[in-house]
């Protein structure tokens, strides 16, 4: 189950962070997302010139995956699943990237500012809901 998704700016600042859990661990997830962007993979990207960064950071209860766009904006996915298929994560990030591009293409969105679009939040919720169903 996906418990948190986040968009992190190129100064490692949070642009969007949403957790999907009722448990009292939202703050913990913020810590997890913050720490995960410290790995060398997330800072330099992969050598294969690929957007998908793979597993970034293993915590006790979560797995953190990353994705780096061409504009050096990072997407972070936190899941509680033990067995995660790479293809599922890749598919998720592909959809998420498309939703992000739509959100920042809004003429009222100022680049570099936090994403506050409700449509984006709804799209992200749908993508998270459909994760792993295929």
């Amino acid at each position: 189950m996906i418990v948190c998704v986040s968009v992190v700016g190129h100064q490692n600042n949070p642009l969007y962070i949403q957790s999907f859990t009722d448990a009292d661990d939202a703050l913990k997830l913020h810590h997890v997302v913050h720490c995960s962007s410290t790995s060398s993979k997330s800072e330099s990207g992969t050598t294969l010139n690929e957007a998908f960064l793979g597993l970034l950071y293993p915590t006790l209860n979560y797995k953190v995956y990353g994705y780096l766009t061409n504009t050096k904006v990072k997407f972070i996915l936190v899941t509680t699943d033990l067995d995660v298929r790479d293809t599922d994560v890749r598919n998720f990030f592909r959809k998420f990237h498309a939703a992000y591009v739509d959100a920042v293409s809004n003429p009222f969105h100022v680049p570099g500012k936090k994403i506050t679009s409700r449509t984006f939040a709804q799209t992200v919720s749908n993508i998270v809901g459909s994760y792993g169903l295929n």
Binding site: G9, Q11, N12, N13, P14, L15, I17, Q18, S19, D22, D24, D25, A26, L27, K28, L29, H30, H31, H34, C35, S37, T38, S39, S40, K41, T47, G54, L55, L56, Y57, P58, L60, H109, V110, G112, K113, K114, I115, T116
Partner: protein, 959 residues
């Protein structure tokens, strides 16, 4: 001597018999052979030792022992392995035991592969025992299994790491953790599980740290398998130390909960004393007295739990946690993993906070908070600031408390749901990051320092008893985290203003505090303190509070209200009248809130203003600091106040171009035309005009230092103003390209002059800069100098060119000397016949635009050589030399001067009779004119002449 290798003696493992040489002397060799055959001993197990050669024999004994031991262990292992294979015992615990034995024997034989295999077998068999074994009471059964699993895991990890199999070791640890992660046992006593888990991570961290297989580069490692992907963190001990600390934290809190809830836990200490670890790994037993003998008995789970709790209570887990986290923090810092290091620092700080050690907690919270501020992680920042705020309260640091509270309330926390739905119930002491919480902290802090004096005594509940009475002043600069509390933007409406005339200035204040704040008064400070002014809030009573920045009697403005509404600019425009010329800059804006609280915010130009790191990514409606959009984009907090118009004239009385070699005189006249002149200083600069541009004096200096082509020779002082000169100190500094002269005090209408002497060594144009600085109103303390600048370009010219030529005597009657034109090959005649007359023609050509008044022109010989080298006669005279005079007197004019018109030449001719053969130097030619004198000494090649002997007289001699 006979060494039985193992007891009981067995023929399968023959004894090693060493016989000393002495035995051989007593017993015959045949008898020994018979004895050996009788005992069925192989000859290699019977060694003869010579005591004198004992050191040489020892390796033989060692190898024999080793061979025997290996054989024994191999055989033992084989025997036990056969039992495992036969599955003669279905009991899993026996299988574990057998596998362990075989593995240990394999280790003895250094057969690491087999050791690893059997340890792993033991480990897997052990795991199967979970839930199946009934040998011990439930809790103790699991404790035993986990203890043995830990031992086996330790063995396996050590073997893998020693073999350099780092990735395999990490994967193995991963599996080990996963296998036992959920094997919690009784949830009531979960602290046992957390303690065990913590130990697993700690032991692996230490193994990894001690291992020789260090991580060279993450990319070089095989990053796990498809099933178990690994990240670089999992190869660093820091990661495991951090998690060991995390599990110990779990254990600590579980134990605390258990102890607080269990009444029985209070009475455990007495009965658990006699319980000790058994000789069997992972088991515990009780020592009981039976008559006089002491016997060991199994214990019940209740007894074991009591014992475990009492043991666990003995340890100070917090210190362990802090120590491991510190290791982790240092390691991550060295690895430049700033965010992981910051997280560890946060955990350390929380632990110290729990231990009621606010100073240590503050140290580590400060490390964390800086990173969160920088990167704008508002939710995390809020949490850490909440902790820091409590630390400062506990430390009694009132100023810190107020600063941290204000920073917290000025954070962009808009609501619960807008930012990461923080429904976390495990908040820090700061509480949840919500608007209502921001508002309540805002009220708390403003009540604290804005309340009236009589209420101070009731503020003890806030933790501050004494500090609250003293005034509190906060400084906010451009990098301060408190910048969102009060942002001061200042813009002058004009970039250049006249002195003593009104200019408009717009003061814009912005606050991100959640509630409106009413300001008592504002003090605006400038670099020219006379411009400082106060803005008062009319609704507040006028309190005559002393101000260190604004002098009494300075400008005061009144506003009907001074309220900072959240996220809205408060725009105020006033007119100020600067007195002094130069830069006028607004430095800061000081806001007074209540009787004791002041905030001073550094003034910022709207053109250079940026949002603070926590606010710059926020998507909120931003308004401009000024209504005028141009001012909001280009406005500056500084302006330039012009100087008053100078009413003094400086004139440079140059006349014509300067000539090389002469002392060129430049009269400088200072005339007062309205202003009196006090403390006047005249600065003179000579600047080379090169390449069409002008060098500044400083840039030009290095070039002109080596050879000053043009230099200032002197400055003649004032004419008739000696008294006033001495009064002003008479500054007079002259360097080659720079001069400084003090100008005496002049009243209105007076004038003063001096003469500047400049000498040109080369024909170069120079720029002369003269600047006069003076005080128009005498020597007042705050008076400013008025400057007047003048410049003049002066050409330096070569006045005349002197040339010489030799001519053969036979052509003399046919030449009109005045019309001789320089031929291209004129210098070809560089040789003269000895003792024969040649004609030397010297011409001086006037190159200037003015007539040159020539006084004399002469030719001189060196005293030493000249008398013997040649003979010179005045041209046009008789053919005979005039006695012994070998020096031509030259030409003098006593109408005194002869005028040489521009572009024309004056020519003199001499008869020259060389007296010596060989290479000779030309005599020196001297010329004196009305304005200057010059000597002609051309280059060595041009002035040297070769004198050859005269034609040989061989014919006449022969006759």
């Amino acid at each position: 001597m006979v060494y039985p290798p193992f007891s009981p003696f067995s023929l399968e493992y023959p004894p090693l018999i060493t016989l000393s040489q002495l035995v051989l002397e007593v017993i015959s060799e045949d008898r020994l052979l018979a004895l050996r055959k009788r005992a069925e001993l192989d000859s290699k197990y019977v060694l003869f030792l010579n005591h004198s050669e004992l050191p040489l024999s020892l390796p033989r004994i060692a190898s024999a022992f080793s061979e025997l031991a290996l054989a024994y262990y191999r055989e033992e292992a084989r025997r036990i392995k056969s039992r495992i294979e036969k599955r003669s015992s279905t009991s899993l615990d026996l299988i574990v035991r057998y596998c362990f034995k075989v593995a240990v024997y394999a280790e003895f034989r250094r057969d690491w592969g087999e050791a690893l295999k059997f340890y792993e077998d033991a480990y897997h068999s052990l795991h199967e025992m979970i839930g199946t074994s009934t040998r011990l009471p439930a809790i103790q059964r699991l404790v035993e299994i986990k203890t043995i699993a830990e031992l086996l895991h330790f063995k396996i990890s050590t073997l893998l790491l020693h073999g350099g199999k780092l990735t395999e070791a990490v994967i193995w640890f991963h599996q080990h953790k996963s296998s036992y992660d959920k094997v919690v046992g009784s949830t009531e006593y979960i602290f046992l599980h957390w303690e065990w888990m913590s130990r697993q991570f700690l032991v692996f961290a230490e193994l990894l740290e001690a291992s020789s297989a260090t991580v060279q580069s993450f990319s070089s490692l095989n990053q796990g398998t498809a099933q178990i992907p690994l990240t670089e963190f999992e190869f660093y001990p820091a990661y495991y130390y951090q998690l060991a600390a995390h599990y110990l934290q779990n254990k600590k809190s579980a134990l605390e909960l258990l102890v607080s809830m269990s009444v029985a836990a209070q009475e455990i200490d007495g009965s658990s004393e006699s319980i000790t670890p058994s000789v069997y790994v992972g088991q515990f037993s009780q020592l009981r007295e039976k008559g006089e003998a002491l016997t060991l008995h199994f214990i019940t789970d209740e007894e074991y739990i009591r014992y475990a709790i009492s043991e666990a209570k003995r340890f100070q887990d917090s210190f362990e946690i802090v120590a491991w986290l510190k290791k982790s923090y240092e390691s991550f810092t060295n690895l430049k993993s700033r965010r992981m290091a910051a997280f560890c620092a946060f955990e350390i700080a929380r632990e110290y906070f729990g231990l009621s050690d606010p100073s240590n907690a503050k140290f580590f919270f400060d490390i964390t908070v800086n990173l969160y501020r920088q990167e704008g992680w508002v939710s995390l920042l809020w949490e850490v600031l909440g902790y820091l705020r409590e630390c400062s309260r506990n430390l009694g640091a009132f100023k810190d408390f107020v600063e941290l509270s204000l920073e917290m309330v000025a954070l962009p926390v808009t609501s619960c749901d807008d930012f990461g739905n923080l429904r976390d119930k495990t908040y820090g002491p700061g509480g949840p990051a919500t608007v209502s919480r921001r508002e309540s902290i805002h009220r708390e802090v403003f009540t604290l320092f804005c309340r009236e004096t009589e209420l101070i005594s009731s503020t003890e509940e806030s933790g501050f008893k004494f500090a609250i009475d003293s005034p509190l002043h906060l400084e906010i600069d451009l990098v301060s985290p408190l910048r969102p509390v009060l942002l001061a933007s200042v813009a002058f409406h004009e970039q250049m203003i006249k002195p003593r005339s009104l200019c408009s200035i717009t003061l814009s204040l912005l606050s991100h505090l959640p509630l409106p704040v009413e300001i008592d008064h504002l003090e605006v400070q400038f670099n020219q303190s006379t411009c400082n002014f106060v803005v008062r809030n009319s609704q507040k009573p006028l309190v005559a509070s002393p101000s260190s920045t604004v002098q009494s009697g300075s400008q005061e403005e009144n506003e009907p209200s001074l309220v900072l509404v959240p996220n809205n600019w408060l725009r105020l425009t006033y007119a100020i009248k600067p007195e002094k010329s130069g830069k006028l800059e607004c430095l800061s804006v000081l806001a007074k809130l209540g009787t004791r609280f002041t905030i001073s915010s550094r003034a910022e130009s709207p053109a250079a203003m940026e949002d603070s790191p926590v606010w710059k990514h926020e998507n909120y409606v931003q308004s401009l600091p000024t209504k005028d959009p141009i001012l909001a984009v280009f406005g500056q907090k500084a302006t330039q106040v012009e100087e008053p118009e100078p009413q003094v004239d400086v004139s440079l009385g140059a006349s014509g171009p300067a000539l090389v070699g002469e002392n060129f005189t430049m009269p400088i006249v200072v005339t007062s035309k309205g202003h009196a002149v006090y403390s006047g200083e005249l600065k003179i600069n000579l600047v080379d005009v090169g390449g069409g541009g002008l060098f500044s004096p400083r840039e030009a200096e290095p070039f002109s230092l080596e050879s000053h082509h043009v230099e200032i020779c002197g400055i003649d002082g004032a004419e008739g103003n000696d008294e006033s000169e001495s009064e002003t100190g008479n500054i007079k500094k002259i360097q080659q390209s720079f001069g400084l002269v003090s100008v005496p005090n002049l009243k209105e209408g007076e004038s003063w002059s001096c003469k500047l002497e400049i000498k040109w060594h080369r024909a170069k144009p120079v720029m002369l800069f003269v600047s006069l600085g003076y005080l128009p109103q005498g020597s007042e303390a705050n008076a400013q100098k008025v400057h007047i600048h003048k410049s003049l370009q002066i050409e330096g010219k070569m006045p005349l060119v002197i040339n010489n030529r030799f001519m053969l005597p036979y052509r003399r009657d046919h030449l009109l000397l005045n019309r001789i034109k320089p031929a291209p090959d004129s210098e070809d005649i560089s040789s003269l016949p000895l003792n024969e007359k040649s004609v030397l023609v010297v011409s001086a050509k006037n190159c200037t635009e003015i007539a040159l008044k020539l006084m004399c022109m002469s030719i001189e010989l060196d005293d030493e050589q000249g008398k013997t080298s040649c003979l010179i006669q005045q041209g046009g005279g008789g053919g005979e030399t005039s006695g012994s005079a070998n020096l031509a007197p030259g030409e003098e004019f006593k109408s005194n001067t002869v005028s040489v018109l521009p572009k024309s030449e004056h020519v003199l001719s001499y008869k020259l009779v060389p007296l010596t053969c060989g290479q000779q130097q030309l005599p020196k030619i001297t010329l004196t004119s009305v304005r200057y004198s010059a000597e002609f000494q051309p280059s060595t090649i041009a002035s040297s002449v070769f004198v050859f002997p005269s034609a040989p007289q061989a014919n006449s001699t022969a006759k």
